[in-house]
């Protein structure tokens, strides 16, 4: 049985493992053109933006042509249910000062009241409701 995990970490020759990815392999094209050419690295957002521009320039594109952006799921038609930000139980109340939702008075007394500053925003960021200062 060949198992990579079977070897103790200390017994592994790191260089031998690294060679697998660094050495000149026989199956690789020796006359390969320099990779990438003039292309520079694009962040995902820019790449998708460029692609949308390109696709919009096409004349034969159909209205329902699936693209990376268009297959994104539509928003829900159901009203969003509210849950306690701390425990996840159904939220019946909302703290007016910071918008945290909570299940009952106990959660408020024991957790929300003693919250250090900033933690409420962290809880809110879990559901994307935090205040983002720009």
């Amino acid at each position: 049985m060949v198992s990579l995990q079977a070897q103790a970490p200390g017994a592994v020759d790191l260089q031998a493992q690294s060679d697998i990815c660094t050495k000149v392999h026989s199956f690789k094209n020796p006359n390969r053109p320099p990779p990438g050419g003039a292309r520079r690295f694009k962040p995902a957002r820019q790449m998708l933006g460029d692609e949308i521009k390109y696709l919009q320039s096409k004349l034969n594109i159909k209205f329902d042509t699936p693209t990376y952006v268009s297959v994104a799921a539509p928003p829900s038609l159901k009203p969003a249910k509210h849950y306690c930000d701390i425990t996840g139980l159904p939220a019946r109340y909302k703290n007016p000062s910071n918008g945290l939702r909570f299940y009952n008075v106990e959660i408020y007394q024991e957790v929300i009241k003693h919250m250090p500053p900033g933690v409420d925003q962290e809880y809110l960021s879990l559901r994307g409701a935090n205040v983002v200062l720009k």
């Binding site: 199956f27 299940y103 957790v111």
Partner: protein, 759 residues
């Protein structure tokens, strides 16, 4: 990590302290899950299972996923390569460029810090990392292929590869470029991973493709599969229709298939997958236990998520039952992290007494040593000077005037006055030094005498009168000093008295009285029970938060009471408390201090999951919980299905196929069934198929017939040998002519609009 184990009677003394597993095992309180350094799940492969390929037309099949890359030859029943799709590139200490791929990244601690996934989120953005992945795969595959191991400067096999749903053209273009230019592959074919899994499902139903472990019996499942087959033979058209729900690592996709053709224009993607779920697990744990003594790594969070999460069949109902503290406590899963063993030695009373005695003696000795040192350093030089000068002064009696003047001159003085003033000075210094050295007390300051003060002026000569005036002044000075001192002392005492009064805590007194009263009530009043005590009431008031944070561990108040010696030991209260604790499943009597301390420590290193177990997977059905603004799986599935005509819908409802790694989260099938029946036509037959009956801790790819993590690769391997696959091949010439992101459409591929994509 752990301090050296003492030889005393600790429970873990016999086991090596370096092994956290052993340390953990000795704790009385057993937790449900133990998390330590969690390596990537091992993938065991036996080379004899994989026959050597001699045909160069046989495809190399690569499932390039965001979490794992699987690669192998089309004729094999399972992939030879199955590695986490990650690489670490760095320059090591010996300034050697080191590149690690897959599980190898775990081998080195430096490499661990440099690990990067091949994909950027859900998208392939650069082919540099992909090249590492392919180098690794082809290197390991080459011994399995005769044409490849012959050493041509090319890959002689065609390549079949997966893409994401609606993969950006850019990603395809960089992949093709790499395959054709670096590896000179003869041809490449692309398709969508979950569609290949669907192909595999269909093939398996027709009996064209067996399970993973061909040689093992799959009795339990084969009958079930036969059942599916029977219903499907009724209608040939239904055979290739369905809705594929792929619960992937970075996203979840839903693709409808009608009459054997995928309808990509109606496919949808939810930006939520296993990786996001384990991120959420980590963030929830960090917020729940802000003071956790160690850093929980993302991989540990992933490990915890894999073993604890499950879908709630009816989320709202389960939540409302969980809102009771007792139910929540029972539903909790405790997760233990390794903790350092406390270095405490249990000693008998005599030993303790001996130790205290020894410590006292040592303190005394130390004090003496310091005193002696201080004396040597400060006292003696002044003292010898003083004694020398005093000798000179004393010798005046036995000397003539001249002799005395000579002696004075000898010690460096002009006259007697200078000598006496210096002696006084030195006396003051010596006294201060003695005080500092602790030889004399401040209190023993000698009381100066003022003999002339009380003698009337008439009896004194003028010189004495002057001296009397001086003495009076000195006396007044001295008296006022003494008075001030006394006042100060009185003030100090008064303050101390006040403080003492404050220290006698009113609350403690009240508490004592309350305890007394409650004890009496418990003893004599039959209507007053343990439940009615103040402590029980306050515990009840914080019971939910306690159950949420600490699961079924004892509440601190109760725990303190059962351990405390000052609590009333004789009456029934103690027994009642004990029985409560026993109900909670924990033995009350603490055998020794060491264990108690270790338990405390273990408790600090323990997490509890309860609501989170269903709260996190619920995001798939209600993405708004995690702030993702889109419809959940069930709503979206209903939306897609309802957009078809009645007949098509019925066909597709016969095969709702759930695949992808996250379909391993238990209970997905009943949940989906429940949610879909509510959005689909009344009493319409619904058939949900998953390959998730496999338990989570099952060793990957062993004996289990269907693994959702491998089903895409297997379907693809099957498809690669069909006629259709031969037609969909993109040759190098075509690629050069038609553009880098060009694609030949087939049933399981992404869409292609004619045109060239130039980036």
């Amino acid at each position: 990590m752990a301090p050296g184990q003492s030889s005393a009677s600790t429970p873990s003394a016999s086991t090596p302290a370096s092994n956290p597993q052993n340390r953990y095992r000795n704790i009385r309180y057993k937790s449900d899950l133990y998390v330590d350094d969690v390596p990537n799940e091992a993938y065991t492969r036996d080379p004899t299972d994989f026959k050597v390929v001699s045909d160069e037309h046989e495809a190399i099949v690569i499932d390039n996923g965001t979490s794992h890359l699987r690669a192998g030859f089309a004729s094999h029943s399972r992939p030879y390569i199955n590695e986490p799709n990650q690489a670490a590139k760095f320059t090591s200490r010996k300034s050697v460029r080191t590149v690690m791929y897959g599980r190898d990244c775990d081998l080195d601690n430096t490499a661990k810090g440099y690990v990067k996934p091949i994909f950027d989120g859900d998208i392939l953005l650069t082919n540099e990392l992909l090249e590492t992945a392919l180098d690794y795969s082809f290197h390991h595959l080459s011994p399995l292929s005769r044409p490849l191991s012959a050493g041509p400067s090319a890959i002689p096999h065609p390549v079949v590869m997966t893409e994401r749903l609606a993969s950006p053209l850019y990603s395809r273009s960089i992949t093709s470029e790499l395959l054709f230019e670096a590896y000179s592959v003869p041809s490449v074919t692309y398709g969508v991973d979950s569609l290949f899994a669907f192909e595999g499902l269909q093939a398996r139903r027709k009996g064209l493709l067996s399970g993973i472990g061909q040689n093992k019996s799959v009795s339990g499942r084969s009958s079930k599969r036969g059942q599916h087959g029977a219903t499907f033979k009724e209608s040939a058209a239904a055979e290739e229709s369905g809705l594929i729900i792929n619960m992937g690592n970075m996203s979840t996709t839903l693709i409808p298939v009608l009459n054997g053709k995928s309808l990509m224009n109606r496919a949808k993607r939810i930006p939520w997958g296993g990786s996001q779920a384990s991120d959420l697990t980590l963030r929830l744990m960090q917020l729940k236990y802000p003071g956790f003594p160690m850093r929980v790594s993302p991989r540990q969070a992933n490990y915890i998520a894999h073993r604890t999460l499950r879908f709630a069949t009816d989320y709202e109902t389960e939540l409302s039952t969980l809102s009771s503290p007792t139910v929540m406590a029972k539903a909790s899963t405790s997760v233990q992290f390794p903790y350092p063993v406390p270095d405490v030695v249990h000693r008998s009373e005599e030993e303790l007494a001996a130790m205290a005695e020894k410590r006292k003696e040592q303190g005394k000795k130390l004090q003496e040593i310091t005193q002696k040192r201080n004396r040597e350093r400060v006292g003696i030089p002044y003292l010898s000077d003083l004694l020398g000068l005093k000798d000179v002064l004393d010798s005046k009696v036995n000397m003539t005037e001249e002799e005395f003047e000579d002696a004075l001159f000898h010690v460096g003085y002009q006259n007697e006055q200078e000598l006496t003033s210096d002696i006084k000075d030195l006396e003051r210094k010596v006294k201060a030094a003695r005080l500092r050295a602790g030889e004399v007390d401040e209190e023993t300051e000698e009381i100066p005498s003022f003999p002339l003060v009380n003698i009337p002026d008439s009896e004194l000569d003028p010189e004495q009168k002057q001296e009397k005036r001086r003495q009076r002044m000195l006396k007044a000075n001295y008296d006022s000093r003494i008075k001030a001192k006394a006042e100060k002392q009185a003030e100090k005492e008064r303050l101390a008295e006040q403080d003492g009064a404050e220290e006698v805590d009113e609350e403690a007194v009240d508490q004592d009285r309350l305890n007394d009263l409650e004890a009496k009530l418990l003893k004599y009043d039959p209507t007053f029970t343990v439940e009615d005590t103040m402590e029980a009431i306050s515990n009840r008031q914080s019971a939910l938060v306690h159950a949420f944070l600490r699961g079924n561990e004892l509440q601190r108040g109760v725990a303190m009471k059962k351990g405390g010696d000052d609590a009333e030991p004789t009456d029934g209260a103690e027994d009642d408390l004990r029985s409560i604790s026993l109900d909670l499943g924990i033995a009350t009597e603490s055998s020794n201090q060491y264990q108690q301390q270790e338990e405390e420590l273990a408790r600090a290193y323990r997490l509890h999951l309860n609501v989170e177990k269903i709260r996190i997977p619920e995001v798939w059905f209600q993405p708004s919980i995690a702030g993702v603004d889109c419809a959940g799986i069930a709503e979206l599935a209903g939306y897609i299905l309802n957009s078809f005509g009645e007949e098509d819908k019925r066909k597709m409802m016969q095969c709702i196929y759930v695949t992808g790694g996250c379909s391993l989260i238990p209970n997905i099938k009943p949940r989906l069934e429940r949610d879909l029946t509510s959005v689909l036509p009344f009493r319409a037959p619904l058939n949900i198929i998953t390959d998730n009956s496999m338990p989570f801790d099952w060793p990957i790819a062993q004996e289990w017939p269907m693994d959702p993590r491998l089903s895409a690769w297997q379907g693809m391997a099957h498809w690669a040998r069909t006629e259709e696959a031969q037609k969909a091949k993109i040759s190098r010439a075509e690629w050069e002519e038609c553009g880098s992101s060009w694609l030949k459409e087939h049933r399981w591929s992404n869409w292609w609009d004619e045109g060239h994509y130039i980036d």
